[in-house]
Amino acid sequence: MPETLPRHAEVAVVGAGIMGLATGIFLARAGREVVVLDRGEPWREASGVNAGSLGVQNKRLPLVPFTLEALKLWRGARELFGGDVGYVPSGGLRVATTPEDVIRLAASAEEQRAAGSATEWLEGPALAARAPWIGPAVRAATFSAEDSFAIPLSAGPVLVEALRQAGGRIVPDVAVRAVTGTARGAQIESPVGTLACRSAVIAAGAWSGELARTAGAALPVGLEVNMLTITEPADLVMDRLVSHVRGILTLKQYPNGTCMIGGGWQGQGTLADLRKDVDHAMLIHNLRVAAEVVPGLARLAIVRSWAGYEGSTPDALPLFGRLPGHEHVYVTASCRGGFTQGLLFGRLMAELVTTGQTSMPVAAFDPARFAA
């Protein structure tokens, strides 16, 4: 039966990606009446089309404790959410391919260690023994047992079902035009009707800036058009998540044998045109780096490529908290690292909405830091 937009709900969440669904699940489990809205089908944007990397090594330092906590949720996802999200505890190698990279990697490893994420330094024969499939272009790498990955296509249906089981509702195909504060809460306006609620949570990824603007808050959410490529299924090529210290590469091999190649290389498109086109030259640069780091990839055929929209912030830190000037409108947008941290930020947002407090210190992510 098609879902129609209700006129009232206790909490309205705009965006049915990982942020919105996780927020909805934890709110529903806390007894709140929750409706999660999306401009299309749930899980169709960044959450559904990203590379699935769950890494701690590539996170900015303030995010390390949050990532470590979020990874616990991923590890326990089957019990927590009642399904197989395709989690693979692969461990991960962060690689350096130039002398400058090596210096940066060493400094970063030290900082990460201090922040609670210890890694193992590998180079030369030790690296070759641990990862014989790593190419000679890799001068050094740090290994973290925490780095891992999941299968986005598997995780989506699990979270959607978990939300429903908890009593939450999802209404797809609602192109929310505006989120506004009202005397007693907030209001969601759309072409298919208006929804009044006590609290509204903007969890709309790359669209969060647009929506915040309708509520009178100017948040600098930029757009990234991240490209991904996937190969034919193949026998074992690599058994760890791979990332590059300069952020120009991610690699993983799924249980079905396909290899996913990413790294944030930019395709083309805007929020207005929704093109999400692959950029030819950038794609090949991405593939070159991949083949340099794991030469065994060169013999595989690429079968599909695509691009997805992700939000970005000027300081590469999430937006989390009440919208400036609002009491009942919130925003949670991780904007890079969202897939890793989304389950946790959903729980924290549920805490904030229901109790006014969070179990982890989120002041650094206050959207007010961008208010003029």
Binding site: P132, E232, P233, D235, L236, D239
Partner: protein, 118 residues
């Protein structure tokens, strides 16, 4: 019974001037082939039709499109899995093996090529 003609299935059409004859090593046995024939054609002529077993349900697959676009006829050729036999010319000394899922039957070969232990 003429050489290279399976008693039950497959076979070669008469009246065709074929190139040099040789043999392919197929799963430890031998299959006749001629210059200009594809690996799949040589196997079909010998009545060999199940070429691989799928990764998921372990079902048999063989030639379907015969023009290189469906990916069903893939086998391990000279140690390399995923080779489309319908568009690969047979050559003297070539080794062909049934593909199970995405790997060669001797997993050691595959992991050795990938560089070592899992």
């Amino acid at each position: 019974m003429s050489p290279g003609v399976s008693p039950r299935r497959g076979g070669r059409a008469a009246g065709v001037a074929r190139g040099e004859a040789f043999e392919l090593r197929v799963d430890g046995g031998r299959v006749p082939a001629h210059a200009g024939e594809t690996v799949a054609a040589a196997l079909l002529a010998a009545g060999r039709r199940a070429l691989r077993w799928t990764a998921g349900r372990g079902e048999p697959r063989g030639v379907y499109c015969a023009m290189g676009v469906c990916g069903e006829c893939i086998m391990v050729v000279d140690g390399e899995p995923g080779v489309r036999t319908c568009v690969t010319l047979a050559a003297p000394g070539m080794t062909v093996q049934t593909q199970h899922g995405w790997t060669a039957p001797e997993a050691d070969d595959a992991t050795a090529r990938a560089g070592g232990a899992a």
